[in-house]
């Protein structure tokens, strides 16, 4: 059982979700309430990580952010270290890969907010921020929670991108998924089995918990609105 790798994965998931979710809330709200030319292109672009193999994304990040690209060199000068083969690089990759998992559920939730509720709020002279925090967020909360859980679990299981651009460095980029792969290659099936079981139990528990939580929250909203 590679606790260091498990801990690293949990840390990666937490940091990714913390950065991604606020950004996803703003982006999905914009997409839900605005129509503009090229919107379907933007939405398609957001969905791309769903259909692309993670190794493709990993390849582009490795080449695009590595020390042989101008962007990679620029970032290295600004940050003092490289993005690839570094924890921060994994965060960038995880954010990119998880955009669809974050935006989709939240956008659907925003779209479900009745227009008259927002109109009423605007008529009361509430500021846009106030409408977001007092009216909309409490209503789209189940969507946000779903996005949060999907992203968190997805980062925990991410493999291809991390393999391509992480470099498998213990304590830095060797996540639990990589550690499982390593254990299997080293014929250490006991350890691989334990880690896989932890991930499986975690995934089922978290999904069951959030499903029930979002259901009860949804129910609370319905009753409050009545």
């Amino acid at each position: 059982m590679d606790w260091e790798a498990l801990w690293l994965s949990i840390k990666l998931s937490s940091v990714t979700v913390l950065i991604l979710i606020p950004f996803a809330i703003l982006l999905s709200r914009y997409l839900a309430y605005h129509h503009f030319t090229g919107k379907s292109w933007v939405e398609a672009l957001i969905m791309v990580p769903l259909v692309l193999p993670p190794t493709v994304i990993g390849y582009y990040l490795l080449v695009g952010l590595g020390s042989q690209s101008w962007l990679g060199r620029l970032l290295e000068e600004l940050l003092g270290h490289q993005l690839v083969f570094h924890f921060s690089g994994l965060v960038v990759a995880s954010i990119l890969v998880n955009i669809p998992f974050a935006v989709q559920p939240i956008q659907r939730a925003f779209e479900a907010v009745p227009e008259d509720v927002r109109d009423a709020a605007a008529c009361c002279g509430m500021s846009r921020m106030k409408v977001l925090f007092k009216i909309e967020l409490p209503m789209v909360w189940p969507g946000v929670l779903t996005a949060l859980v999907l992203c968190f679990s997805h980062v925990l299981g991410e493999f291809g991108v991390v393999l391509m651009m992480g470099g498998n460095i213990a304590g830095e980029t060797k996540t639990i998924a990589i550690s499982i792969y390593d254990s299997v290659q080293a014929f250490d099936f006991a350890s691989a089995g334990q880690m896989s079981l932890v991930l499986l139990v975690f995934a089922v528990t978290v999904l069951a918990f959030t499903t029930s939580l979002s259901r009860s929250m949804g129910a609370a909203h319905v009753s409050r609105r009545r």
Partner: protein
């Protein structure tokens, strides 16, 4: 709103936690990251353990495929040392200017014929067991590493070609991404066997599942395994590099079935 405050508190707490971990990690940054071909895993783990015992210094070893490591080091991976399965890869890296010199040979790889304990495949150095199984049409699956980019796969193909078996066995082959995966296929029970690295077959972890027979080294081009220090190498990495050329390390390589370069094949190691 109360929920939102709770969430904010949670976020802050986890950020603090994260920064705590980051600073802990920063403290042991002088433990060099070393990239190593996965076929030397068991031997190198042993040597690294001995190195830490003798010197008190630690190394972090990442195992993977040599080709992948070359790509990563070329793009700036922080590895201070690279131990390749084939000198072709260290040569490539040296040409690109990422290493301090062209490195030294640390071991010569050998191939082994391996099979799960329940396999009908009889193991012998002349491969007559494999031939008869093929002739009887009873060989369904046989594992080697991918000959297109894995050195041990390339040599396995060469050996099968030299034995005149390649044409008949090719439809039955399954390819591992690297030789460790091929080894795992070879004893998983889903194949009748495979040709893998002797160093993996010798490991106790392997022996629980399968048995093996070393194959003659004359039947394929030698597997010269070379290591290089990259330009990022620090004191500990350099000490480890030197340690790998000591009698203690050489003895462990021999125990794991490697041949050894004689001292005349050593090139001068850079600073």
């Amino acid at each position: 709103m109360r929920k939102l405050k709770g969430l904010v508190a949670l976020c802050v707490a986890s950020l603090l936690l994260c920064s705590g971990i980051v600073s802990v990690q920063a403290a042991d940054r002088d433990v060099p990251a070393i990239a190593a071909a996965s076929n030397i895993k068991f031997a190198l783990d042993e040597i690294a353990k001995q190195f830490t015992k003798d010197t008190g210094e630690k190394v972090r070893i990442s195992y993977g495929s040599s080709g992948n490591f070359v790509a990563q080091i070329k793009h700036g991976a922080p590895f201070q040392m690279f131990m390749s399965a084939d000198e072709k890869y260290t040569d490539q890296l040296a040409l690109s200017g990422a290493t301090v010199d062209e490195g030294v040979l640390y071991a010569i790889g050998r191939l082994a014929l391996a099979a799960p304990k329940s396999s009908p495949l009889k193991l012998d150095p002349e491969l007559s067991g494999l031939k008869s199984l093929l002739k009887a049409g009873q060989l369904q699956r046989f594992a080697i590493a991918n000959p297109d980019h894995a050195p041990y796969g390339e040599r396995a193909r060469e050996l099968l070609q030299n034995m005149g078996l390649w044409e008949s066995i090719e439809p039955q082959l399954i390819y591992g991404e690297n030789v460790s995966q091929a080894a795992q296929f070879a004893v998983s029970g889903s194949t009748q066997g495979g040709i893998i690295a002797l160093s993996l077959a010798i490991a106790p972890q392997f022996q629980k599942m399968g048995h093996y027979q070393a194959l003659p080294a004359e039947l394929h081009a030698p597997l010269y395994q070379r290591m290089v220090l990259t330009k990022k190498a620090g004191t500990t990495a350099k000490a480890f590099y030197a340690y790998l050329q000591t009698e203690t390390a050489r003895q462990i390589f021999i125990e794991f079935g490697f041949g050894l370069p004689d001292s005349s094949t050593h090139t001068e190691s850079g600073n």
